[in-house]
Subunit: 230 residues, 2 copies
Amino acid sequence: MTVVRVEQKVLNENQRIALELSRRFAENEILCLNFISAPGSGKTTLLEGTLAAFRPEEKIAVLTGDLQTENDARRLARYGFPVQQIVTGGVCHLDGKMIERALEPWPLENIDVLFIENVGNLVCPSSYDLGEEAKIVLLSVTEGEDKPLKYPSIFHKAALLILTKVDLLPYVPFDMEAAKANARQVNPDIEILEVSCATGKGMDQWRAWLEHRRAQPQAHFAVSSDSRPH
Amino acid sequence: MTVVRVEQKVLNENQRIALELSRRFAENEILCLNFISAPGSGKTTLLEGTLAAFRPEEKIAVLTGDLQTENDARRLARYGFPVQQIVTGGVCHLDGKMIERALEPWPLENIDVLFIENVGNLVCPSSYDLGEEAKIVLLSVTEGEDKPLKYPSIFHKAALLILTKVDLLPYVPFDMEAAKANARQVNPDIEILEVSCATGKGMDQWRAWLEHRRAQPQAHFAVSSDSRPH
């Protein structure tokens, strides 16, 4: 089918750009993390809590994607680090070219950690690598423990699952052990953290994870083999 | 760009199939409703509560879409009405051809109301009409009041917004009035209901909305003009 062939070409072209981004991140010793989740799982709130804990002299930068609005960039800019909104204008994911363009005004040697907040979508962003060191998937406990089985691609590719809004556990029918088992069924190597930005629970473990990743030399990005058209 | 042209062709072909589905629904006096939301907003739970209230002799049928698993069909089949799972195998939305194929074994004269539960995704399903009489968008109060502005396409096209999980309002920072104002900014005509399947709040109003729609003659489907590639 022509559509499949064209989609395949788009994904191959994206992989080429992602590899080049990854090479530049490695060269400049940048830890780049790509945050993916459904809309409203708490990506921006987690990033707010994360930025708040960095010292002002740290070299942190954020790219945040949305179909419309600059709301997230406004929220994140309050912490004093460089932030850019990528408005996709309806496109359901960020791609390598958008990241390349957004990075143009930023000297990469001034960045140690680059957070990329993807468009809220548990499906399409998983097919578009952005040169990141790791994908991090967020799942809020209000969404249900079955999601790793229903949306396996992103849980398969993520290095870390952050279960968010755990302060709401007393009020929702969420089976934490089943959620973790489902995630590990799709990806036995996935690391898992439980976090509540409302109470601060788990934020120390998240920061420890982040510092541990920062301390490691940045690996050169391995191209993922998924190229499912969508 | 070739990609845009091919996507355009796919969407045009989908519109042709959607029109034909709509014609068949009108001919058989079927009310078809297309439920769209982010993953975990409560589409399946709302449908469970909805099916539970129908008398067994009513002619209700359900199609439910997911990337993987037949979990939702299993949950919904317990109410005794015909249910079919559409497993998209990674595709981020349902399209007209999938609906056409799923309907093949069902005599349409045996259906009065057809519920379609789309793939959990607030972006892509809004571009693919399925011959439905109306799109219904769900937004859970845990997701935040900014979502209509960030994902305008689906809120623009939906006839009804159902704000779900309102039992959680005491525990989450959700501004109900702002959420409604944001939805109406994108779509001044959108109807809005507040529902909690956990407490039953708002379910009477939802059933009244449904019965009111059932009482109206089914309009022939108007082709929407959105054809944004994604």
